[in-house]
């Protein structure tokens, strides 16, 4: 990590010490899962309110792109700096989406017995 050991003399035990590529990939996959979660929420919302559901589903690719753009373009040095805005955006998006969900849950049409119907 500190680069004090000559790499030829003692190769790093942890593959990630040579390349943070795996950490990068795990993070990229985490972004993908988060995007899928947004889409899943949008899909649930579709049943109650088509417009709201479609809007939330449209957010999913944006979330995925947020994760990808930062990975491919910025150097590792800038990571914490580009990170703050993106994560702030995600947090705000979830707050907005849950407010939408509250409105839909309170005023939207409920489907009594949707689970018990055969």
């Amino acid at each position: 990590m500190t680069g004090q050991d000559p790499p030829a003399a003692r190769p790093a035990d942890d593959p990630e010490e040579r390349d943070p590529g795996m950490a990068r990939e795990r993070t990229s996959l985490a972004w993908l899962r988060t995007a899928i979660s947004f889409a899943a929420l949008g899909g649930t919302m579709l049943k109650a309110n088509i417009v709201t559901g479609a809007i939330i589903i449209a957010v999913a690719p944006v979330v995925w792109q947020l994760g990808r753009v930062s990975r491919s373009r910025s150097g590792l040095d800038e990571l914490p700096r580009v990170g703050a805005t993106r994560l702030f955006a995600i947090a705000i998006a979830i707050v907005v989406v849950s407010l939408l969900a509250l409105v839909v849950a309170i005023f939207g049409p409920a489907d009594p017995g949707a689970l018990s119907r055969r």
Binding site: M1, A40, T44, P80, A91, D111, P112
Partner: protein
């Protein structure tokens, strides 16, 4: 630590992304730690979204509780609100961890286990109460 004397307003403004970006104290941590911190935030974000989905499903899909007309809203709406709270706390803790890593300080503790365990216990009690009221009506 002069942090004790700072007003809540300046503490709040420290959470804004441009303030985090301008943070010049300390040095950038190992990229792997930055990645790990980001993944932790994303995992909490998915938890928040799952809570919203669960709350929405309770209100929209569950059959009504006989005798407790407000039962589904009583159980579903707090879950949705909890999702918003978890998302905000996740961001605050991400900022705190990132700041601590820059300065080489020990990582701050997380309040998330506390929030989640009390919320889930509360939800369990509320669900039991609604079911009981419905059964005893």
């Amino acid at each position: 630590m002069n942090r004790v004397h700072r007003s809540w307003r300046s503490r709040l403004s420290d959470l804004l992304p441009h303030r985090v970006t301008q943070d010049a104290d300390g040095t950038d941590p190992d990229p792997r730690f930055t990645f790990a911190n980001e993944r932790t935030f994303l995992a909490w974000s998915r938890t928040a979204l799952a809570l919203v989905v669960a709350g929405l499903a309770v209100v929209q899909l569950l059959p009504p509780f006989p005798g407790v007309p407000a039962g589904r809203h009583l159980l579903g709406l707090p879950l949705i609100a909890l999702g918003a709270v978890v998302a905000v706390v996740a961001y605050v803790e991400w900022v705190r961890s990132q700041r601590a890593m820059r300065r080489g300080e020990p990582l701050p503790g997380s309040v998330m286990p506390w929030i989640l365990s009390f919320a889930i216990a509360g939800m369990a009690v509320a669900a039991a109460a609604v079911l009981l009221a419905s059964a005893l009506r």
